[in-house]
Each structure stands twice: as C-alpha cells, then as structure tokens.
Symmetry: C2
Subunit: 383 residues, 2 copies
C-alpha cells in the first residue's frame, strides 16, 4: 500500500505479475509465442464468462469499442432497439444505437432505480424489437440491474440481448451459458484488474448467426465482430496489429482470476461490497442505488452537500486514495468507489477510515471508528 | 543485442526507457499527471508530423483504427473516392471506403510500381471525387509513393487527401505543414518504436471543417474524429478509457524522436536503407519496389525461388533475427525487412551477414562478406 490506492471504478492497481507481463521484450503480433498466449487468453475468457456455449472475443480497444462493435454487428439500420437507461452508460447505448441507424426507444428509470422487468415486459410486448440493451452494473452510480429476469423476458419476446457488464464480469455473478444472453461485454481495466486497452465479449451462437444473416453488410471494418470471429477461431490471421503488451498483461490477470476461482472471486467482491455499504451506512452516507440492486463492484454515495470535491481531494492528497467524481448530472453530488480487482480487507478499511476522518474534518458528526466497526463483521468472513 | 532482434515492419524492439514507461504504477485516465503527459504527447505529435497548421490526434487503437476513423469522419455515403492501390494496405482503403458507403474507384499499379502522378491527374480530371487515398510507404512491399506530387495534384483538383503514412512518419521525410494533405495517419509501433496500441494523426483545418459541414452525421462513436477533436483540445473530458500504459510509452518514444531530431532521424533511416539495399544488391536479391521509389523504412525483396520460409526460419532460429513474410499474393515469394525505429549500423550488419550465411547454406552462390562490404560505405556516414 505504499503505492497510491486506486479505488476509482477502473482502472485498478495492477498486481506486480500483471505489470511485469507488459515489460517483457517486444514480440511480433504474428510470433507463435504471442499467438499461443492469445489462445490461452481466449480459453481463460471462456472461463471468466462461463461461456462454453458461445464464442469468446478479445479485441484491442476500450469497453466502448466492445459496445459499439456489438451494436454495429448485430443491429441493421431501421431495426428497432429498446435501450434501458439506468444511467450514463445506459445512455451510451442510446447514442451508439442511434448513430448506427436503429430506431431507438428508451426506457428511463429514475437515478438509482433498477430497470423494472415488468415495465420492460410490457414495453417489449407492445412493439417488434430486434434487440434490447441492458447495463448490468452502472459504473456511473453503482446500480446493479436484474439481468437474469431481464434476459428471460427478452428471450420470451425473442429479442436479442446486449449487456454492458463492463463493471461486473469477474466480480458479480454471471454465467453466460445459463443466462441465455446474446452479447455480454466487459473490458480489461475493471474487475479483471489488467491495464486498459482490451475489450472482452461473450457472444452466443444465435448472435453469430445473426451477423451472418443480415440483410445489409456490417458497416465497419474494425468493429465487425463477424470479421473478428475468424481471428478468434484462428489467431494467426492478420486483421490489425493488436495491443500486444496489454494482451499479455490481460492473460496474466485472467490467470489470477482462474487461480482464485470465479466463485471465490464473486464471494470476495460480495463481502467487500457488504463491508463498504455497512461502513457508508455508519457514516450516514446514503447510497445512490436502491436496496437490493446495489453492485458488488461499484458504489456511488451522496456526499454532504457541496463536499464531493473536497472529500475526493482530501482522500487523494492526504491518504493517496483515489475515488471518482460523479459523471454527468451527478457530478459534484456523489462520489464513486470502485471496490473490485485485487481489493482486500486492508484497502477496504483504509478507505473507510480515511473517509471517516475526511468527514470529521469537514465537521460532519460521525463517531470515531464507526465505519470500520460496521464493516468488521463482513470482513471477518474473508478468509 | 542479446534480445531477439525485430526487423519485421513493426512492432520493433523497444528502448529500455520506453518499456519502463509502461511499468509505472497504474494511473487513472482522469489523473492530472496522465492528462499533463498526454498534452505533451500531443505537442510531440505536432513535432513528429511538423503539424503546426492543423490538429494532432492520438487515439488508442491500431493504424487500421486511424485509417477507418479518417474514412468514416470525412467520407459520406455516396461520396466518390479514388483509392490508389499500390499493395495490400492500399487495398485496405478500398475496403474501408466501400464499407462506409463511398463510390470507390481504384487505380491499380503493378507490384513495386509507384502511383504515377500523371495517371492520377488524368483520373481526377475525369470525375468529381471528394477524396483520394494514398499509401505513403506500402508496408507490404516497401514501395514509397511520391506523396508531394500526388498531394499537389489532388489539391489542384480540390480533392481531399488521406494518407496512410503508418510505415513512414518519423523515418521518411514528411512535413505536414508544407505537404498540404488533409489527413496523415501513423501508429505507435512502427518508426516511432513504441508498443502497438495507439494511432497518431495530423488533420488539416480544412478536414476539420469538412467533418462539421457534413450533410449526414458521422456514423461511428469511437471512430468519430469530430468527437475526438474535443478531447485533443481538452484532454480532461471523458469519451472512452484510453490505453494509458501505451500512451505513456508513446510519450517516451516521442521524446526520443525529439532528442534525436526529426531531420537526423530521417537521415539515419536513409543511410541505413541505402546500406541494406546495397547489401541486398551484393547478394543478388532483387528489391520489390522500383528504383527511385524505395522506402527508407521497409524493404521487400524476392528470395531465391521457394526459399522465403526457410530463410526466414533460419534467421529467426539461428540468429534470433525476425524478418517478415510477404502478405497476400506475395507470401512465399518475398521477405520484408523493417529497418526503422532504433535500428543502427550494428543491427544492419547483423542482419546482412546472417542473411548472407543463410543464402550460402542454401547453396546460393554469394561471396563471403559481400553484403556487409557493400553496406559499409553508407554505414560510415552514420555518426
């Protein structure tokens, strides 16, 4: 913990071995050693998503590239798309689908409220949608949507599902094979705790077929998942030079996920999230996401009025702990904690105690030690 | 030289300080230290392209992303585009422009022959083109096109110019301010000798205006240069998480370009290219690109029949020197040497002597020491 502690919602601190994987001598993109490593990365990506029924994709680019590639590959101009807007990144799907010529309907949900499956059911039954976009965990506020129920409803209406699980995969329960979704997207610098620069996707057979059976060609070269599919099946072909170092680091980070075990990792994230929520509660800070729909990876909380920037600065300057401001409308009102990746109890108590002192220094009436005390029952569960 | 020597046309071996820049503790993408570093990178990118008249862009992604972003931002569906096809990457522009709805005409030139300005002049005068795509240095064969003449002709016809200078910028003479082109594209892992994962562009005011004055919206989020323009002017805004480590390494590599001096760097690349061409000549290996149009960064040469794979393997396995196979039709017929980045005389003689021994081992009649001997007069010029 001598380094600065990143508890923003990505990127995270890197494990030493992950950073080290980037500093090996440069390999060529067609070097058999790199290609072998990449094939392993694809297998580890299957493990990460529990995706043995569909195809894993790993592409150089941000989560946004993964989202845009999903839209442009699946959606044809004129297709009807329903976007569930539960925050900043829900809106990004609205932008993407609109840009790519879809007829977009948006279901807006109040800040912190989950996408209500019955409302979605109603909406899907009233029109003929090709696809629905869902944000699993809203990085911008810490909401966790009920993806199992939402996918079930979409399947009932025979609607393709595209899920932004950027801030969830690897930390929140997600079993692609059981879920029945069509495309689930994440990226390297969130829960996987690799450096930014790669997007990872799980794509169903059904979606792959849809790419092939379009009436119009896919209007992108780099974002064309049908093109990348060939690379995922035979990584030796040349499409574009991948970000080799980032992919080597990703490989190492995915190995760490496998070593910990996916279910253990979900459990660790759940316990730490419980601890953080309890700590925030003891500090009388209210959480943006409604109860029952709070992410185990990101928590947004309202600060005492006008104090968001000051608290953020004090955490950073005095304690070398980074948390994030709100995005869009929530800027200046909330702070966001990313509690994912390699976070353990020591980072959790460091954050909670620093937050408590910051509040006290701004004359907020909170009891000394209360945040960590409230977190302790949960942290004791961590083994 | 204990490490393997990469003389493929990118990526290159990294300088220690460039590799080291990637291994610092992870920074957030909105951290002021990263943003300061990025602003410097943009200034260094101005220096690299000699672009003080237009806007520098640095975006996470491969050279292909830079090419596609240029096409999708400048070209509207139905626009007429003339693509000069002088090889594999010339054809890539044909694909990109076609995918994005342009009416594409292609001028094909024989392998190794440059795009003839008078032919281009003739063609442009016969129709109303919006833009022309030009490959500066064809990575696939080592041809260098006469971009000054080609741009002059395009300007005469009031046609926008998009130049793939992926394998040239930093090693071949290019002065964006004087050239008068609209978009020039390169990427991190070629002559700049940074790791792969960033594309760098110089964009003219004229092109920026064209982005704003389109009749139809730009059909991409991530590839939309008008959107990225805002980021280049104010790097603190959030569009997508950049590949932070790659950009830090790029910054360091660009510092090295500036320390060497752009004109010194062009000179070094010219001398080494002369040395390599002389060495190949002494080995009776014929160069793919015609005389007078040979790149100072990449050289493709025909191998004795059927020996391309064997020579490549021997260079790799016995001498730890990597050169590249041909792409597309040229696979198995030629080999390609990337002589750019941090290449000096010691790598040059290492390659030439290893190539000579390889040829002799396959019973090709070449005199001992002839390749290096032919290269020496040039290498002596390097100071």
């Amino acid at each position: 913990m001598t380094d600065e502690l990143l508890m923003i919602p990505g990127p995270t601190n890197l494990a030493h071995r992950v950073a080290e994987a980037m500093s090996k001598p440069q390999l060529g993109h067609l070097d058999p050693r790199f290609l072998e490593n990449f094939k392993e990365t694809l297998n580890l990506t299957r493990y990460l998503f529990v995706n043995y029924s569909g195809t894993p994709f790993v592409i150089s680019g941000s989560g946004t590239v993964g989202m845009e590639a999903s839209i442009v590959s699946l959606i044809e101009p004129g297709d009807k798309v329903l976007c569930l807007d539960t925050g900043y990144f829900g809106k990004r799907f609205v932008d993407l689908a609109t840009i790519h010529g879809a007829k977009v309907d948006v279901l807006n949900f109040e800040t912190g409220k989950h996408a209500d499956p019955s409302v979605v059911d109603e909406k899907l039954s009233r029109d003929n949608y090709k696809a629905i976009t869902i944000t699993h965990v809203e990085t911008s506020n810490g909401l966790s949507n009920p993806i199992k129920d939402l996918v079930k409803i979409a399947r009932k209406h025979d609607v393709y599902t595209i899920i932004d699980s950027v801030a969830a995969v690897g930390g929140c329960e997600l079993n692609f094979d059981q879920l029945g979704a069509d495309i689930v997207i994440t990226c390297s610098q969130k829960v996987i705790a690799a450096p930014p620069g790669a997007t990872l996707l799980a794509v169903s057979k059904r979606a792959l077929d849809a790419f092939e059976n379009r009436k119009t060609p896919i209007r992108s070269y780099y974002m064309n998942l049908a093109r990348w599919r060939k690379f995922m099946e035979e990584p030796g072909i040349y499409l574009a030079t991948p970000s080799i170092q980032i992919l080597l680091a990703l490989h190492e980070a995915l190995l760490m996920v496998k070593e910990e075990g996916l279910e253990n990792r979900w459990r660790r994230h759940r316990i730490i999230a419980d601890a953080i929520r309890a700590g925030l509660g003891a500090l009388n800070l209210s959480i943006v996401a409604e109860e029952g729909y709070r992410a185990n990876t990101v928590t947004g909380f309202y600060t005492p009025e006008g104090k968001a920037f000051d608290i953020c600065s004090m955490l950073r300057d005095r304690y070398k702990i980074h948390v994030a401001q709100g995005l869009g409308d929530l800027k200046g009102k909330i702070l966001r904690i990313g509690h994912f990746g390699n976070i353990t109890s020591k980072e959790t108590v460091a954050l909670l105690s620093a937050l408590e002192i910051s509040l006290r220094s701004f004359n907020v009436d909170v009891k000394r030690g209360s945040a960590v005390k409230a977190a302790m029952p949960y942290l004791e569960e961590l083994v």
